[in-house]
């Protein structure tokens, strides 16, 4: 699989001892990092079968953040370019993971996942397998292994390395919805997002070449257990003493292990670092700056655990066959992967490319709404909002397929599709008992029959919009809309269905999920 000529060149370069970029620059490779990295010999023929990113629809211009906080921190003006993504209150790491997974699985032709991995530092539950909830939202069979990864921003890449190393059909999903203090630099640079990667041995769009990981307790930032917000250290120190010293040697060690030179690499994903550091690292490593993959700063921001995978998705969505792609993430050391695209990538089409999502955001110029959406501004929602939102989990358990999987019924006697599934068919001309079989509604297209924008209903994103939706192939449901702004709905508007937070129970710190009707793009509407 590897081009033998390049391998040969790499070997020759090593042999004459002068082609190593760090050596060319007269610097020494830090032995403790470069030589102790966890380099793995890949299995033959494992790789990526599909990949997708997910960006929340809401975009906040950094100018809005800078202007609102000018009185406290005028220096923010220097960063006031572009937009960042931001979740609405019904989105979290898990809901973003579901959307990324759906796009990923829809576009792939690999085997069904036998393993589901969810990586995040902002998982909604500390002890309730988020990956299992994810797998039930995707209606995957129960006969799979699920695992949550967390603890640091390298969790997503680490999980992907595990998946690629095992070769088992695996869905690896990383998502983060991190918060920052108002008027902080972090508030400007963060974004919310997710990425999902399907891996295995069949139907590869990119083949694994090599992986490499290093572990260094370099504390560029940390978040204490139970804390909501990171504590960040000085950027210049982080860049010069951390990123510049740790990443280049890991990258070069990966290349060396793969028998490649920096010039062999077509696309380079450097995540977990800023643009200036990325340019410097590329220079140090001998990578042409134009080969750096867009860090998505302009339209998204840093999505934490997801970011390496998200940038990789962006790169693969544009890559042609035979391209080498290097991914190196900086987080308490490094997590690096080298891939090469296969011929099959030419026929692979992303279900919802990152580039398209960057284009299709919805701009919000309201800083207080942004703060409130991120639980940083306590709005007075009135006494009505004091209602107890306890979830009857025994009832939830009975109806898990209905609620998490959006499974309704189809009558074997009359063919009527219906949600929810009751004991008897709802068709007034049928009403048979015991004739309903499972019917998935998740991937259907619906159309608005009636709607309202309700300012009285309690919602963290008022007005609460809901209405009657008819599914194109039969059945109706009264449900909440999401990702619509007031004035955007009309009778006949086509909708798709997305997994979102339905209600929160602040008293017990539980929240429940259900599906909501969201805008479709014109191709999906048919």
């Amino acid at each position: 699989m590897f081009p033998s000529r390049q391998a040969q060149l790499a070997v020759e370069g090593r042999d004459n001892g002068c082609s190593h970029p760090l050596k060319r620059l007269g610097r020494s490779i830090p032995n403790d990092v470069a030589e102790q990295g966890a380099t793995e010999k890949p299995l033959t023929n494992t790789g990526i079968t599909s990949i997708a990113g997910y960006l929340p629809r809401l975009r906040v211009a950094r100018r809005v953040i800078a202007d609102a906080n000018k009185w406290a921190n005028p220096a923010l003006a220097a960063m006031a370019k572009g937009h960042r993504t931001s979740c609405t209150p019904d989105e979290d790491s898990l809901t973003m993971a579901v959307e990324a997974s759906r796009s990923c699985l829809a576009a792939g032709s690999g085997a069904a996942p036998a393993v589901v991995q969810f990586a995040s530092t902002t998982a909604p539950f500390a002890d309730r397998a988020n990956a299992v909830l994810l797998s039930e939202a995707l209606t995957l069979p129960a006969q799979i292994r699920c695992a949550d990864f967390g603890g640091f921003l390298g969790a997503g890449m680490t999980a992907l390395i595990d998946a690629l190393s095992s070769g088992q059909p695996t869905l690896t999903v990383a998502a983060d919805r991190r918060s920052a203090k108002p008027a902080s630099a972090l508030e400007m640079t963060l974004g919310h997002g997710a990425a999902a990667v399907a891996t295995g041995t069949q139907g590869l769009i990119a083949q694994l070449v090599a992986t490499h990981a290093t572990a260094t307790d370099f504390v560029d930032h940390y978040r204490a257990a139970g804390a909501e917000i990171d504590y960040s250290l000085e950027e210049r120190w982080v860049r010069d003493e951390g990123q510049m010293k740790i990443l280049p040697s890991a990258i070069l060690a990966l290349l060396e292990q793969a028998g490649c030179t920096p010039g062999d690499i077509d696309h380079v994903v450097l995540s977990g670092i800023g643009q200036a550091a990325a340019r410097n690292i590329a220079k140090v490593c001998g990578i042409a700056p134009e080969r750096l993959v867009d860090p998505l700063d302009a339209g998204c921001g840093n999505t934490g655990t997801a970011h390496g995978l998200l940038m990789l998705s962006h790169a693969l969505e544009q890559a042609s066959p035979g391209k080498k792609i290097l991914v190196a993430n900086f987080a308490q050391g490094t997590q690096c992967i080298l891939l090469e695209t296969t011929d099959a990538i030419a026929d692979w089409a992303a279900a919802n490319p990152v580039a398209a999502q960057l284009e299709n955001g919805c701009e919000d110029g309201n800083y207080t709404r942004f703060l409130a959406f991120n639980d940083q501004l306590e709005i007075d929602w009135g006494i009505r909002a004091e209602r107890d939102n306890r979830t009857a989990l025994s009832a939830f358990n009975r109806h898990r397929k209905t609620i998490t999987g959006f499974i309704g019924g189809k009558c074997t006697a009359c063919g009527t599709r219906q949600f929810p599934k009751g004991p008897a068919c709802v068709n007034p001309d049928c009403r048979s008992f015991g004739t309903l079989e499972d019917e998935p509604f998740r991937d259907k297209i619906g159309r608005v029959k009636s709607f309202t924008e309700d300012w009285l209903a309690i919602s963290p994103n008022p007005p609460l919009m809901y209405g009657n939706v008819a599914f194109d192939d039969g059945g109706v449901i009264m449900m909440e809309f999401t990702d619509f702004e007031p004035g955007e709905l009309a009778v006949g508007t086509p909708v798709r269905f997305v997994f979102r937070i339905k209600d929160k129970d602040p008293k017990r710190r539980f929240h429940r999920y259900f599906w909501k009707a969201a805008p479709v793009n014109s191709a999906e509407a048919g």
């Binding site: 009135g382 006494i383 009505r384 209602r387 979830t391 009857a392 009832a395 939830f396 009975r398 109806h399 209905t402 609620i403 009527t416 219906q418 949600f419 929810p420 009751g422 709802v426 068709n427 007034p428 029959k449 009636s450 709607f451 309202t452 924008e453 309700d454 300012w455 009285l456 209903a457 309690i458 919602s459 007005p463 609460l464 809901y466 209405g467 009657n468 008819a470 039969g474 059945g475 109706v476 449901i477 009264m478 449900m479 909440e480 007031p486 009309a490 009778v491 006949g492 339905k502 209600d503 429940r512 259900f514």
Partner: protein
């Protein structure tokens, strides 16, 4: 073969409390207010009542469950008291229980009484309440205005009219209710209001503004039911108001989950009205009904109800409303007492309050708002949401007309 309820029972007496924000009163006091008026009107002693049906919808914010609170506050003589609850049709359900008890011959005199004390919640609008453990998991966190508001979007789509036109007709509905309410001393809201103010009110749930929504009120209403024979035996002379029909239609899920309903009308109203007209012997409601008391929880509900009751053709309701067809001096007076909009909407009492107005009108006792010699009247409740509801339609009239 059963022939229905027509003319089997009459109303011996009725009472209705002052509706409104009754900060001075508990539900017990409101019950006593309507009860004392009703037994005074009936000319009976409380010990002559043999059974009672007690309507109370929001037990969570009110008197709790069971019939006990009615029996205790009125010191009833240990008679059977059944608490009924069927959303906004609760008061009408109490009436149905009492009417059936008397018609069956089980008792000579029965009472229907309803009450709601809504203003102890601490906020405007209806109380927040559970929809049930499973429904909470998937149904929208909807409110009553948001649910009924959807009549409007579905109606405009179905009939191809502009929302602005419909909004004007809706404003006329509310304007008319305020005009009527201004002549009703027991009404919660007695101020007249301009259409301009209605149209410019803050939005509650698109396209319903504040004045498209009915009041949330405290109040109670009471009816004493007996047979025509007992009424005469008790010395009642003159006109008697009889019950011509009491019907109830309850959704079975077809609006909620089947494609056959487009959301522009209330299916159960059409079903209940058809049954009630058959029971009452009404063949041409527009000609035979002199007044209708309908469930105008929101202006749009009243408008589509005119069509569902057969008083307007489908898609013509907005034109008829704008033409004044249902005004006090129109073809059929609708909500001549101000309706839910202005008389108020204490849920457990509302159905009985409607009957109270019909009873007063039929007996020519309605004061400034008295219509010219009405003989037939209709009451209508729509409880729940348009896609999931309980609808009652009752017909009242002078006995032997």
């Amino acid at each position: 073969m059963a022939k229905g309820i027509r003319d089997k029972v009459v109303i011996l007496g009725m009472g209705c409390s002052q509706f409104g924000e009754r900060w001075d009163c508990s539900a017990e006091d409101l019950l006593a207010e309507s009860f004392l008026e009703a037994i005074g009107d009936a000319g009976i002693d409380r010990d002559q009542i043999e059974a009672a049906w007690f309507g109370l919808s929001m037990d969570e914010q009110n008197l709790g469950k069971s019939g006990l609170s009615a029996s205790q506050s009125l010191r009833l003589p240990n008679i059977p008291v059944t608490r009924v609850e069927n959303l906004c049709a609760t008061g009408s359900e109490a009436l149905r229980g009492a009417v059936y008890a008397v018609a069956s011959g089980a008792v000579d005199i029965a009472m229907a009484i309803g009450v709601e004390k809504l203003k102890d919640t601490g906020y405007g609008g209806l109380p927040e309440r559970s929809k049930g453990t499973f429904n909470e998991l998937w149904q929208p966190s909807a409110t009553a205005p948001g649910s009924f508001a959807q009549f409007a979007s579905a109606y405009t789509a179905r009939h191809g009219i502009e929302m602005d036109t419909l909004k004007e007709a809706m404003a006329h509905v509310s304007w008319k209710s305020h005009e009527n309410g201004s002549k009703n001393p027991k009404a919660h809201l007695q101020r007249r209001i301009s259409k301009e103010a209605i149209l410019n009110a803050p939005m509650v749930a698109y396209p319903l503004g504040l004045f498209d929504c009915c009041g949330v009120s405290d109040g109670s209403a009471c009816a004493i039911i007996t047979t025509p024979e007992v009424a005469r035996r008790l010395g009642r002379t003159g006109d008697l108001v009889s019950v011509k029909a009491v019907q109830l239609a309850v959704s079975n899920g077809s609006e909620m989950s089947h494609d056959s309903w487009d959301g522009s009308y209330a299916r159960t109203t059409r079903i209940a009205a058809e049954r009630a007209y058959r029971e009452a012997g009404i063949t041409d409601p527009l000609k035979q009904l002199d007044l209708v008391e309908v469930h105008d929880c929101f202006s749009i509900t009243e408008l589509v109800t005119m069509e569902d009751l057969g008083l307007s053709k489908p898609g013509e309701g907005f034109r008829d409303v704008l033409a004044g067809k249902f005004d006090a001096d129109g073809e059929v007076a609708c909500n001549i007492d101000g309706g839910l909009k202005c008389f108020g909407h204490p849920i457990g009492a509302s159905g009985l309050r409607m009957v109270y107005e019909c009873y007063q009108q039929l007996l020519n006792r309605a004061g400034d708002r008295q219509l010219n010699r009405p003989t037939h009247a209709l009451t209508h409740n729509l409880g729940g949401f348009p896609n999931f509801n309980v609808c009652s339609v009752s017909v009242l009239g002078l006995l032997d007309t």
